[in-house]
């Protein structure tokens, strides 16, 4: 199979053989793919500086079996490079995608969300609320979505004034006291904010803890390495 001019981002690149790179790419129509960029690490490669994360590319590759062979990579636009905290968040998101998306499993919605997120990170927008919405949508897209429309059991709407224990398999269970819950409680107000995407400063922390716990739950034994970088 020969693919031409497909919108893509490099999620990760690692040295492969003497002068090549093994790339994990997020593509719009083909999902995450693994591809070898032959000779990309040699001094005269035209790809040498281009195959870096967070740069919108148009790529071509030949796919035979598990790994593709890169045939082309053009930079579509130059975004200001990610810096500081935005860069760390970008690396976190790349790890998230590598862990949650299987190779050659198309998720065009995730691609669009990622494209927008990279643009926002590059423009220096406020990062944390964007990350929560991205995590919410990614989990939804891979079939692990949160239940944010109603309480666990489905009979009552989420109440902004109630506190909940959020359980990954059943949803938000009302709790009167923190002592009744095995996990930090999260307010109905914050869960509703996560649903609408209108997250304010006072809800940041509980939502960050909630998403971190759910991601850890879904990833099982091997937690995200980039969580260590965020302390």
């Amino acid at each position: 199979m020969r693919i031409l001019e497909e919108p893509a981002f490099v999620l990760h690149a690692r040295a492969f053989r003497e002068t090549s790179l093994l790339l994990e790419l997020l593509t719009r129509e083909h999902g995450r793919i693994g591809a070898v960029a032959r000779g990309a690490r040699s001094a005269k490669s035209r790809w040498r500086n281009r195959l870096q994360p967070f740069r919108p590319l148009l790529v071509g590759w030949n796919q035979r079996g598990e790994l593709g062979t890169l045939t082309g990579a053009e930079e579509v636009a130059t975004l200001p490079p990610l810096k500081g905290e935005a860069l760390m968040c970008g690396l976190y998101v790349n790890e998230l995608l590598i862990r949650f998306l299987h190779r050659s499993d198309p998720h065009p919605g995730v691609f669009s969300a990622y494209q927008a997120l990279v643009g926002s990170l590059s423009a220096g927008e406020q990062i944390q609320p964007l990350l929560r919405v991205f995590e919410r949508d990614l989990l939804q897209d891979v079939g692990l979505g949160l239940q944010l429309d109603h309480e666990a059991g489905g009979e009552r709407d989420l109440d902004p004034a109630t506190h909940y224990e959020y359980l990954p398999e059943s949803g938000a269970v009302p709790r009167d006291n923190q002592a009744d819950s095995a996990h930090p409680l999260v307010s109905g107000e914050a869960l509703i904010a996560l649903r609408t995407g209108q997250i304010n400063d006072s809800q940041q922390r509980e939502l960050k803890l909630l998403m971190r716990r759910l991601i850890r739950y879904h990833l099982g034994d091997k937690p995200l390495a980039s969580h260590d970088l965020f302390r």
């Binding site: 500086n49 281009r50 810096k83 790349n94 790890e95 390495a225 980039s226 970088l229």
Partner: protein, 200 residues
């Protein structure tokens, strides 16, 4: 059944060298056996000795066969400047090209969470302790301008500013003798955004 196990083993062993595929390994093996057995014996002695004796400098992590490397042990190097690089070859490059008289810290890698390389793997605890000793008054970051090199730089910058140590970063941009029209977009964007004032 394999009739020549040693020959096979030799060819296979040579393939651990960078850039050596099966064909080149076979060529090398036949070359030393046909006409250069003495050099090969010498290589094998030196190789084995180097693997036993060469370790890492206690101060900068660079390769050395002593407790401290030549640069760290030198009284004429300035301990108030510390330049952080990714690899031993970066030390050699800076030593050749510049008149830098400070010291180094060699990370032997760069932050790459996906590959399991975090602060601990890069000896950053050791670097932190070094900064806390108070002798360093300028931390010069010379990691590569790749995404992972930048992430490493950011981490180092945070670490140094927690201890209120001034941080500088080597400049990146247009190569000398290069022409703007042939430079890739990202390099030019980087050079443009880190422009310097020329007015006095």
């Amino acid at each position: 059944m394999n009739e020549e196990p040693l020959l096979e083993q030799l060819i296979e062993a040579l393939r651990c060298l960078p850039g050596v595929g099966p064909k080149s390994a076979q060529r090398m093996a036949f070359h030393v056996l046909e006409r250069d057995r003495d050099s090969a014996r010498h290589l094998s002695t030196v190789l084995s000795k180097a693997c036993d004796v060469i370790g890492h400098c206690a101060d900068c992590r660079n390769f050395t066969e002593l407790e401290r490397c030549r640069i760290c042990a030198s009284a004429s190097r300035d301990s108030s400047q510390l330049c952080v690089v990714e690899s031993p070859s970066d030390v050699i490059a800076i030593e050749r090209a510049t008149g830098y008289r400070g010291k180094y810290f060699v990370l032997l890698g760069r932050l790459s969470p996906i590959d399991g390389i975090g602060p601990a793997e890069l000896g950053l605890d050791q670097l932190k302790a070094r900064l806390a000793e108070g002798e360093v008054s300028e931390l010069i970051i010379a990691t590569n301008p790749t995404v992972e090199g930048e992430a490493t730089a950011y981490y180092l910058q945070e670490m140094a500013s927690q201890q209120e140590i001034p941080v500088t970063r080597i400049a990146h941009g247009v190569p000398l003798g290069g022409e703007l029209e042939y430079i890739d977009q990202s390099t030019l964007a980087m050079a443009f955004s880190s422009r310097q004032s020329l007015s006095r």
